[in-house]
Symmetry: C2
Subunit: 384 residues, 2 copies
Amino acid sequence: MSVTAASGFAAAGVVAGLKSSGARDLALVQNRGPLNAAAAVFTTNRCKANPVLWSEQVIQDGVVSAIVLNSGGANCYTGAQGFQTTHATAEAVATELGVSAGDVLVCSTGLIGEQLPLDVLLGGVSSAAAALAPDAGLGAAEAIMTTDTRPKQSEYRSPDGWTVGGMAKGAGMLAPGLATMLVVITTDAVLTSEQLDRALRSATRVTFDRLDSDGCMSTNDTVALLGSGASGVEPDESDFASALTAVCRDLAEQLQADAEGASHDISIEVLNARSEDDAVVVGRAVSRSNLFKAAIFGNDPNWGRVLAAVGTTDAEFDPYGIDVAINGVQVCTAGQPDQPRELVDLTPRKVHVLIDLHAGDETATILTNDLTHDYVHENSAYAS
Amino acid sequence: MSVTAASGFAAAGVVAGLKSSGARDLALVQNRGPLNAAAAVFTTNRCKANPVLWSEQVIQDGVVSAIVLNSGGANCYTGAQGFQTTHATAEAVATELGVSAGDVLVCSTGLIGEQLPLDVLLGGVSSAAAALAPDAGLGAAEAIMTTDTRPKQSEYRSPDGWTVGGMAKGAGMLAPGLATMLVVITTDAVLTSEQLDRALRSATRVTFDRLDSDGCMSTNDTVALLGSGASGVEPDESDFASALTAVCRDLAEQLQADAEGASHDISIEVLNARSEDDAVVVGRAVSRSNLFKAAIFGNDPNWGRVLAAVGTTDAEFDPYGIDVAINGVQVCTAGQPDQPRELVDLTPRKVHVLIDLHAGDETATILTNDLTHDYVHENSAYAS
């Protein structure tokens, strides 16, 4: 059930001392091979944190020996000093593990605009390297938590003898082009970095990229996939892609379920769009409507706010030919009231909004959350 | 101080009975000429309410004799029956005033997806027509309020003898391409409908279009400008445009100050952009960041959330060359921490965020609000 589920990996989660709470705050995952294949995708935010700038270089050759992740500070907008901190962290990991710094991915999460204390980080790297173990995935998953209330892990075991395992963190700033998330996925399947990259991009496109909790895109998002080849099994590539997508979807749903302050997990399913892009654009517009999200918090099936959001997009549809159903009740048919909104039960945490555009045959589902008092509280009372 | 400040106009605000509160809910403004020149702009939402579909036709010829506005229901997504309601309302006004229904603008605001009771509306039209008076602007301004806590009026008196006056409503769903607003502006200057249209578009572009309280675009927004020519004075066209812009800005700031649940009025000023569009895009991205808005509510000058929002745009800038100042304190210079964030005082209601892109010499300011518990409460506890 973790980043160490696949063979060939060791992990550790330690207390470096970056968090004032004294909780674990530094994680290390080592790929012990025999392969060191890897792929990664990063935030599409142009304001990227130093560890993202570093890791984008590291991943170029598709070779990664280890990944080190810290909570307690984003190391973003910290200038040359901040970049040197990232570089020194990678060097320290490389020295401890006897690998090249150029094969060490670095991830950070926390407040933007504050320098990380290098000595504290380096102490944490030493402790983590000493604690590396092939069964310490949970500790690593705990060490990357910020406002997360629980660690997030997933795994898939193929009957063919290979495994995919992963861990994730992220609770706010969850928006597309990834969300504020750090995700490490490991596999012992025998795959090249090109194969891993293809599978990772196809999986994230329909999972993490469709999670939009609060419309805010982070500066630090990273999803890394490491392949050790330790199973000795070469999987069918489409089987592997399906397994990876399932693990990514499971982790994305765990992120949604733990989103800051949320009281509803909302799936916005767009049907019969002219293109998949259109379906995504429409679903995303609804997922970003504060009025719609506040209504769901108040258990108010306000379908007018759904259509008002749909109408801001340039997707193809007849504005007066759209159907909307909420939790199975068709409240709007062809742009007119249908079933009474009072029939909709919004007391369950799971909410399903179905929007039929009648414009084609493509579909997409966006995952989001409601807008609650607790969201406002968490994001106003604490700097993060 | 009102829509009847300019000569040649009469107005009324009456209790038709659309609102359960028993407050005024129907307003009528009559242009008594000698001219009946007019211009109007509408929501860019593709899901337009029936009164918008109607009024877009009415304004084609630039001739408007009267405008009737109701609160208590948006008449949006109400199908053919809803359109007939709008049409019948215009016919009733036309009959009462002895004008053509094709010269009567109709505006509605309230909940989407509910039919308006036609008999109640028509009763209100009769009462309003009987109550029309050249000093009843305030009553009209009160009748268009929804969640507004106060009526919004403005006027400008030119030393050359012409006047511009206006009223507005809007408190939520305030986003670009107008906001959830109904605005009626009147003038007794002698101008053609083409001149009015030019002036109105240039004024709304830099005022109402730059108010983005909550990122949600309404289905019903209308800004109408009626010209009676009753002053007999032909103004200098640029003087008139300036006066109209000042009235629109004043009304926009009143809308911002009364936005649902807001505790801060935030001006996001973007400096040195490559183009004005770039400046608007950047300011708008920040104005739509829930994390930034929640931080301001918590008096937290979290400039990292400003830059994280800036980085989601495709405006031209060097992500590591941006300066940010909040309420006069330069917290970030060239993408690195500058003055300590503790120096920023966010206790005043007015907040000024200055973003220097160092990419050109264009500028724009977006007006927005913070994200508060009261916003969530107002938009979850009441259907609107």
